[in-house]
Symmetry: C2
């Protein structure tokens, strides 16, 4: 049996749950598809085992505060959906998703200025992650180029990698994506003969950067998209979670042909239901439905009915206000502690919505190499390199304030500050020696596309932003 | 704006749900990925609008009889999961799926002789459809060959098409896949230098053929797989729905390295929860987890907890017996009516489990061309061509008895028999004339790979089977 590795134990035993057999080598290694060889564990999943330890303050995960929901009301609501409508909620549904839910989704999008969306242009997905995967499968062949902010959402980079796309990062600053840099990237891609399939952007309360694309820049980006005939994929899970103002007007509200919009109920209701959506022009929507039918047949009926019923019967706008107040308090605790405790040379963004702060370490420190010391000090974060497709971002880390209580946040930042100070002492002591901690700014990563457009350039703009 | 088709109406209006704008041509047509151009609507979805009309008896859909579940008990069970465990059931989970559910899944698989499965080798998926999509994404590059029964599950063909795989059909008879034909296909693929990635097979109560792979053939198929170093993807949604015997021993129970097993709760509990799974060797399992994280992040938590709690607290084995009795009664109604009413020359399989009868029309009739006349007569079925990747199967149709009541089934078969008789009259009247209804046996489909191995060969074996 050629696919049996040498020396593997014999077949079936009787123990119902035996310990797994670890083959010493993967006997199927030569059979995988090309896309499979590039797959790797994300920086976030690598942390799962760590952050679940109670003594660790986790500023790593992006888990919403779901216990702030009225669980009894939601529980009886969902229970009644099954008892009273089991013939629908437990049965197969349509690939495009429940029509009633698609109508409610149009109401939600209207809050961000999308007033012309038709339910027939909406496809319900298993979280907006599936929405991005479907859009990517429909448009992207191996080798195609996708433009994405530097940094970008780690889950999006996973989708693009599995599509064998080439990601070209475009730098941001505290006002979000830099339009001039976008145009520069388009010019260079044209010169290279690259097929640019779309720009992937998170305009509101960016994950991980925590910044928001300003109104003038929204206009500038859409003008450039027009001029260069660029398709834009607008990923907007956090748009309704602004602390200080009304929701910004979506890019999709400015152009219903050139923008494909991804939405999610994960941050406004519940991520455990995995209900998101794509709003796309009809021709694209039809392709997306065919793609999702091949992938999952149809989204779960029960979770779709649960969201639609929640929007119909529960005070969901007030619930979002409640979430916002809770996240604002945690954002404040984070920024206050950072101001009080972080050593000089540490810089960070100041989000006015969403879940994340993007922190830059003092010159020469490396968030990935520092991570084991942080875990020993019982604080967890996500190293910045997870948010770059090109090896950039070693001097950055993402801090999430969405899940821990304010006191935990303060304690976590205190521990983190101590770890950074210890690194700095080490740095000054062994200044001449390359211990491996000091590589970040020093060495460009091998195979680093558009080196000048990520990392350093990006970090400078952050520093200017704070000045 | 080059992506705007000429003459499209101006932008945003104020109507919250305006009628969709149908572009006269797809302005993005030149931007899609190669895989997208081949996507087409399945024969089953094409029927959705028809079968939902109350006057139509639908023998088309494969919807389980979910109303036979104890809906009140399941409703309060799920309601309590949300009220009492909202912090888990409404939150993100792991990409691999809930550990407790993966343990219960191992108990379920033990009923089919898989006693050595470890929960760590199980990946929970959004229905087994996603499981098949993940396996295909992990193994299949464009142009690779997948061996699949003739006919094959339409949803599987959709997955393979979207992976740009080439499907090579292997004929079946009333005893399931024909081992000699499998070996023949492998020999020919080797001669062609094709990369055969795996055999896709539904060994129990096949969809659509309704036949089951016999015990001797299971041994023969696995011997061939061994001899040709062939990976086998065993798709088994119906295995516990046998009418006359204990579950057959799974192929996976015979080989834990060469067989990747797909399971589902859609037919034993509820399809609306979309909970399925893949059992695969650890190295493959790890790739599947990375692929599912890129696709959906994680399966819905609520639906996973619902299935695990159902298996823990509800009499699920007795419920399966209840389903089986109900489907047996409907199978009997179907076979009795067919025997009584079908004109000579019509043949069909005799399932002893599952949902489907595979019917072959008298010589010269075409199920696809006959479909509009059937719909006019208020009866719906799925034309056979939907279950072939190569244009075969025009003389076949799939009849599903899982959903309609026995009386509806009898009426549906009565209407179908009249339509077939009318076709035969037409046939004898215009015998010399090719009205289009008589093409099936006459013309080979253009671009028909391995013509000799599908359609005619297959149909002959069915006739032998009934002789």
């Amino acid at each position: 049996m050629a696919i049996l590795p040498p020396g593997t134990p014999p077949g079936p035993g009787v123990n119902p749950h035996p310990a797994p057999r670890h083959p010493r080598l993967d006997p199927l290694a030569d059979r995988y598809a090309a896309r499979t060889h590039g797959m790797k564990t994300s920086e976030i999943r690598a942390l799962f085992s760590v952050v679940s330890r109670p003594e660790v303050v986790s500023l790593a995960g992006g888990m919403p505060a779901v216990t702030a929901l009225p669980l009894d009301a939601v529980g009886s609501m969902i229970g009644e959906l099954v008892s009273g409508m089991g013939a629908q909620t437990l049965q197969y549904g349509s690939g495009q998703g429940d029509p009633r839910l698609r109508e409610r989704i149009c109401d939600v999008m209207a809050l961000e200025g999308i007033t012309d969306a038709s339910p027939s242009e909406v496809v319900v997905t298993v979280g907006s992650q599936q929405g991005l995967d479907l859009v990517t499968r429909v448009f992207v062949d191996p080798g195609d180029v996708i433009l994405a902010e530097a940094p970008s959402y780690v889950g999006a980079l996973g989708v693009f990698q599995s599509a064998e796309a080439r990601v070209r990062h475009v730098p941001m600053d505290d006002d979000g994506l830099i339009p001039e840099a976008l145009e520069q990237a388009l010019i260079e891609c044209r010169a290279n003969g690259d097929r640019v399939k779309f720009l992937y952007t998170v305009p509101n309360y960016h994950n991980p950067a925590g910044v928001t694309l300003t109104e003038p820049r929204r206009q500038a980006v859409m003008e450039i998209a027009d001029r260069y005939d660029l398709l834009v994929v607008e990923d907007n899970p956090y748009g309704l979670l602004g602390f200080d103002r009304e929701p910004m007007r979506a890019l999709r509200a400015r152009d219903d042909r050139r923008v494909i919009y991804l939405g999610s109920f994960s941050k406004t209701f519940s991520p455990g239901l995995r209900v998101g959506w794509v709003l796309a022009p009809l021709a694209v929507r039809e392709k997306l439905v065919l793609a999702t039918e091949a992938q999952v047949l149809c989204p779960p009926s029960l979770t779709q009915y649960a969201v639609a019923r929640y929007l119909d019967t529960q005070p969901w706008r007030e619930q979002i206000k409640h979430f916002v107040e809770l996240y604002r308090e945690r954002r404040d605790a984070t920024l206050e502690s950072l101001e009080q405790l972080m050593p000089a040379g540490t810089t960070w963004t100041k989000p006015d919505g969403g879940f994340y702060v993007w922190l830059k370490l003092p010159h020469g420190l490396d968030a990935k190499l520092m991570q084991p010391r942080a875990v020993n000090a019982h604080v967890a974060y996500v190293p910045g390199i997870g948010f770059y497709a090109d090896g950039g971002g070693r001097e950055y880390m993402r801090l999430s304030y969405c899940y821990p209580e304010p006191d935990e946040i303060r304690e976590g930042v205190r521990r983190l500050a101590r770890v950074i100070e210890a690194e700095l002492d080490l740095h000054s002591t062994f200044d001449a020696v390359d211990t491996g901690t000091f590589r970040a700014a020093a060495r460009p990563t091998p195979g680093h596309e558009a080196e000048n457009m990520v990392g350093p350039a990006n970090s400078d703009t952050y520093e200017d932003g704070r000045a």
